[in-house]
């Protein structure tokens, strides 16, 4: 007897372009004590499914059909007040954005007690005592004090823990976790995932986990459902799914993930884009993008077929009654990878394009009657880097470590407080504005947010032209015109799109436009500030392929700022790991990723959820949060969280230790070895 049974759930959203069928005929079960993961890319309807179960759809949404049985009772048949009894007690939910999901003006305690009063009928000191237990149970240190604090006083990870405590307060039979760690950093994500897994096991609670991350599924789920365009397309046990995904879409998802094995090869991408859900579908929704689709796929929607024990697929390929001749095109694994790119030769020592030494960016803290400077936020505090043409240096770190600030300071978009930036032999920090302007064509930047980085009021052609016009790199309208077309072709856009506005493009296309804009002035250095972190995996693969190809043909140098280790493994030649304004370790990508020396690097790498969660590789879960750069800890910045801290670590910051082969690390562990 399953705990939750969802039967042909249908949810539609009324939008400007007509009715969108966000969830269409979704059926699955979650057993008590089981974690079921709904996996899919953005817009596939997985969050709408979760909200439909809670009956908390936005105003535009409505449940059109189906049944949701929780412990045998149909939730969709309940009255609103009966449903309120269920919400928070039998069925609880945590959301993606802990920062906005808590009420900012109520204390943490009040918000937890509220649930207890509502569902457990306890109040007063008893409720407070229970809240205290809950807060302690989700691993919040110093619970007595935290209970009286407000959400803004907590870090992102702590807020998500409070959300979990709130969800647990009603002692739910099923917990819905909607992308619970997407807004969190990798090391914090590891903490929260561990907590969720442990709570789920100890309480024997059912969990519906909504995520886009295959790694998280592998780590937490027992069973997986893959969603595409509002439909479930595959349901399987975790082991079976990761051993051999059956649906062509699932296959593609695996193949699009950047992994070290794929270095030097192009990533698998999915052509086209998700069809609009306002359309009526005749055949399989994936048919247009599917490499193994045939006529039947376009005419007839596939039914569920079994593909092994506890493994079901909605695909004609697995139809046992299908005529055999079609089987010839069946695929089960990713198609062979085409190898295009030979590893670029290691650089000669003298071709250094960018040399950063001891770069500092400090922001003053002002206080008092006359706003005197009472301290400095040391966002970047002595960073040194070297980058040569044709190579990629990945600057890796979690949010708030100062990596974006480094990129902006190198480009002189921010005034550095100290240190030197030498670009092609010129010292940028002391250049006159006119000379600097002339150099700007040589170094460009691609930003993270594909929605914020293009002016919504400009046509694509004008956007790409902007740099050429500002820097005067191409004279003459005809020349410029031709170059714009060339640029667009180069990034895979047709030149007819020139007259359109950014809002008409998808996230991936926008990122292509942003790349074209930067390339239009023929730079030698491209600072890529998390260019793929806002994109879905399949689109990310397209952009990474494009960047790789551009580097091979144009010999660009990339400073690649990211927190995504998978992308680093795939793209980077060298890696520098940043923690709280400083670089703690640097070296070649293989050395660092395979054999991290610094305890932080080690923890960071182990915290990334892997596809092979059962491999027995230990996850190092760090304590606490990254401290504020306004008040860095004395000594090594990492020592309060370091599992291998020694007495001297709290005294002074360790010097850089050269480990040979261009590797260096700032840690007392290795200073001892050397001495």
């Amino acid at each position: 007897m399953s705990l939750l049974r969802v039967e042909s759930l249908q949810t539609s959203l009324a939008g400007a372009a007509g009715v969108v069928r966000a969830v269409d005929d979704v059926t699955f079960e979650v057993a008590a004590g089981e974690t079921f993961a709904l996996l899919g890319e953005s817009g596939c309807g997985k969050s709408m499914t979760a909200l439909s179960l809670m009956r908390l759809l936005p105003d535009a949404g409505s449940i059109v059909g189906g049944r949701v049985l929780l412990g045998g009772r149909d939730l969709l048949a309940l009255s609103e007040s009966e449903m309120r009894e269920v919400r928070g007690s039998e069925l609880a939910m945590i959301f993606q954005e802990p920062a906005t999901s808590l009420n900012p003006v109520l204390s943490v305690g009040e918000q937890i007690v509220e649930v207890l009063e509502r569902h457990a009928s306890i109040n007063g000191t008893a409720a407070r005592r229970r809240a205290l237990e809950l807060v302690a149970a989700v691993g919040i240190p110093d619970p007595e004090r935290r209970l009286d604090e407000y959400p803004f006083q907590l870090s992102g990870g702590m807020k998500q823990r409070v959300m979990i405590a709130m969800a647990l307060a009603g002692d739910p039979a099923l917990l819905i976790a909607d992308e619970p760690t997407t807004a969190l950093d990798v090391t914090i994500q590891a903490q929260v995932l561990e907590l969720l897994g442990q709570i789920q096991r100890s309480r024997g609670m059912g969990m519906l986990l909504i995520t886009h991350d295959l790694g998280i599924v592998s780590q937490l789920a027992q069973r997986v459902g893959v969603m595409y365009a509002g439909e479930l397309v595959e349901i399987a046990d975790r082991a079976a799914f990761f051993a051999s995904p059956k649906h062509p879409y699932s296959n593609k998802l695996f193949a699009a993930l950047p992994r070290p094995e794929r270095r030097g090869a192009m990533l698998e991408t999915i052509p086209g884009s998700v069809p609009p859900l306002s359309a009526m579908f005749a055949g399989c929704r994936f048919a247009e993008r599917c490499p193994s689709a045939w006529a039947r796929c376009r005419d007839e929607g596939p039914a569920w077929h079994t593909a092994g024990e506890s493994h079901a697929v909605r695909c004609h390929l697995f139809d046992p009654t299908a005529p055999d001749e079609e089987g010839s095109s069946r695929i089960t694994a990713a198609s062979p990878l085409q190898v295009t790119d030979k590893e670029t030769p290691p650089p000669q020592a003298d071709t250094s394009l960018l040399e950063v030494s001891d770069l500092k960016v400090h922001f003053p803290i002002r206080q008092g009657v006359f706003k005197r400077v009472v301290g400095q936020v040391k966002a970047v505090d002595g960073v040194s880097l070297r980058l040569t043409l044709g190579r990629t240096l990945a600057l890796v770190g979690e949010s708030g470590c100062g990596k974006t600030t480094v990129g902006k300071a190198i480009l002189q978009l921010l005034q550095p407080s100290g240190g030197n930036v030498r670009f092609a032999g010129e010292e940028l920090t002391s250049l006159s504005p006119a000379r600097l302007r002339a150099l700007r064509a040589d170094m460009q930047i691609v930003f993270q947010d594909p929605y914020g980085s293009l002016d919504p009021r400009m046509r694509v052609g004008d956007i790409i032209e902007e740099g050429m016009a500002a820097l005067g790199t191409a004279s003459g309208l005809a020349v410029r015109d031709r170059q714009i077309d060339e640029m667009m072709a180069r990034v895979g856009l047709s030149s007819e799109m020139r007259g359109r506005y950014p809002h008409e493009f998808s996230g991936g296309q926008r990122q292509r436009i942003a790349i074209a804009r930067a390339l239009a002035v023929a730079p030698r250095l491209l600072v890529c500030d998390e260019p793929t972190s806002a994109l879905d995996v399949s689109v990310q693969a397209q952009i990474l392929n494009l960047l790789k190809e551009l580097q091979a043909t144009l010999g660009l140098a990339y400073l690649f700022i990211t927190h995504n280790i998978g992308v680093v493994e795939y793209l980077a030649h060298e890696v520098a790991v940043m923690y709280l304004g400083r670089i703690v370790e640097r070296g070649g990508v293989r050395e660092i990723l395979n054999d991290p020396k610094h305890p932080y690097t080690e923890a960071l790498l182990s915290a990334v959820p892997r596809l092979d969660a059962d491999s027995g590789r230990p996850v190092i879960v760090l304590k606490g949060d990254m401290p504020s750069p306004a008040r860095p800890p004395a000594g090594c910045h990492f020592h309060p969280r370091c599992p291998r801290a020694m007495p001297q670590c709290s005294v002074g910051y360790p010097a850089e230790t050269q480990l040979g082969g261009g590797r260096s690390v700032c840690c007392y562990l290795y200073e001892q070895i050397r001495s």
């Binding site: 009324a14 009715v19 105003d59 460009q444 930047i445 914020g452 902007e466 804009r517 930067a518």
Partner: protein, 479 residues
């Protein structure tokens, strides 16, 4: 001899700006899309139709001239033209304008409102309600014929209005039918049921209502004072129509005069920061800290003194009154730019951190280029919303200020001056209510139309509202 008063020049500048903006919008898809959303709003389009009628009256009243001397027996000046300045509207309303009575008369009355002592032919005196000189003067026997005449004129006016409304609708439907390639009936049904993108049904309905109201009024105005007359016997309908221009001028010129400052200072303060920001903030905090009524009062008093002590600056009384009107607009502008400036500064602070601005900085684009190409187009929707939202407030403010005595020149006809002169009449027994009600009613319709239109504009242009709009549409559909 045509005369262009200062406010006329600015009104025409505004019209030119509007036409220019129309061409600008026409070439930009994202702006067109927003305006199309305005066009979809039924309330917005109906109110725009009403506003258009008001604007037409205001524009007619902005074509000024000095009539030739031989047309006007009266004061003369050296160059052979009368010193009185008239407008095209005056010429159109000549019978109303010149048909003044002695004093109060009720709407559609044939007799004065107050008894007067008249000398009878036999030399004795008696107190009667004397006949009006113009209102109902064509009636031989008012007691018997009045009702019939009024009814006949009303019916005639209504008939004409129905005819006009039908003709106009027919033209629209015909044009639409040709454009869509549909039959006449199908086109009509589509428009009537609101299946068109543009809210044609709202426009046609509003127009029909306007015509049905205007028809009888026009027809009756030929023989009566439809809204009565005021203390000095002026036709109240004429006064209310003349008030429209004053209201429109205050509502638009004020914003026009302050717009360049507010936009430039707001953007510069937000983008440049540092001491420039401090200075601009100081400027608007200081201006803001003076209660606006007092600042306006002080400024208007100063202007008043300046005008009064220099009677030689102006050739005609109209020009003097116009100077005061313009001054009032400028003063209102000075006191009201701070709000928009602060909004724009805050928005610019946000935009400055956006990545497309940083991308432009990475190209070494100059600050003025970034402000002009990236920031200005992205704050224009705020400016537009502020402009349309301010309009109604300013029209209302004019009435209050004129009442306090710091508004327009007492000789300028405006809603405020009408109310000011009429409010004491409420104390009379029996009450003289018509000029007050006429002024309030016209002002209410104007302001309501402006408010509804500005709501439509805000809904279409404000991205935050746009999200809620989709949700509301969805609920409508779900219900």
């Amino acid at each position: 001899m045509p005369i262009i008063l200062w406010t006329d020049a600015l009104v025409f500048l505004l019209v030119a700006c509007a036409i220019g903006a129309g061409f600008y919008v026409n070439r930009r898809e994202y702006l067109l899309a927003s305006w199309r959303r305005v066009g979809e709003s039924r309330a917005g389009m109906a109110s725009l139709t009403v506003l258009a009628a008001f604007i037409a009256v205001g524009l007619l009243d902005s074509l000024h001239y000095r009539p030739r001397l031989d047309d006007v027996p009266g004061r003369t000046t050296a160059n052979g033209y009368g010193s009185e300045v008239r407008s095209a509207l005056d010429a159109l309303l000549q019978p109303l304008r010149s048909g003044t009575e002695k004093t109060y008369s009720a709407p559609l009355a044939t007799h004065l409102y107050a008894k007067e002592t008249v000398e009878l032919p036999d030399g004795s005196q008696t107190r009667v309600f004397p006949r009006l000189q113009h209102g109902g003067a064509h009636l031989e026997n008012p007691e018997q014929d009045w009702g019939k005449d009024v009814a006949a004129r009303t019916v005639q006016g209504l008939a004409l209005a129905v005819l006009a409304a039908l003709t106009f609708s027919a033209i629209v439907v015909q044009a639409a039918a040709l454009r869509w390639g549909l039959g006449w009936q199908a086109t009509w049904r589509r428009i009537w049921r609101g299946e068109t993108q543009f809210a044609w049904n709202a426009v046609l309905a509003a127009l029909a209502v306007l015509m049905l109201l205007a028809g009888p009024v026009i027809s009756l105005a030929g023989g009566y004072h439809v809204f009565g007359t005021d203390k000095v016997g002026q036709d109240v309908l004429y006064l209310t129509l003349k008030s429209i221009r004053t209201g429109l001028v205050i509502g638009t010129i004020t914003t026009l005069s302050m717009l360049p400052f507010a936009v430039a200072l707001g953007i510069v303060a937000g983008y440049r920061g540092g001491w420039i920001d401090d200075l601009i903030q100081y400027l608007y905090t200081t201006l803001n800290s003076i209660p606006s009524v007092l600042l306006i009062a002080a400024s208007v008093l100063m202007v008043q003194v300046a005008i009064d002590t220099h009677p030689d600056w102006f050739a005609t009384a109209a020009q003097r009154a116009d100077a005061r009107l313009l001054a009032l607009c400028l003063i209102l502008g000075v006191t009201s730019w701070t709000g928009l400036c602060r909004l724009l500064r805050a928005e610019t602070l946000k935009l400055r951190e956006l990545e497309y601005v940083q991308a432009a900085q990475a190209f070494g684009a100059s600050a003025s280029r970034i402000m002009g190409r990236h920031i200005l187009p992205n704050v224009m929707h705020i400016v537009l919303i502020a402009v349309v939202m301010d309009f109604s407030g300013l029209v209302l403010a004019e009435a209050v200020l004129s009442y306090i005595g710091i508004g327009v020149d007492p000789s300028t006809i405006s809603f405020g001056t009408m109310i000011n002169t009429a409010r004491l009449e409420l104390a009379r027994e029996p009450v003289v209510w018509w000029s007050l009600i006429a002024a309030f009613a016209f002002m209410f319709v104007l302001v309501l139309a402006a408010n509804l239109f500005s709501d439509a504009v805000r809904d279409a242009f404000d991205p935050r509202v746009a999200g809620r709009r989709v949700a509301a549409v969805a609920q409508e559909k779900a219900a």
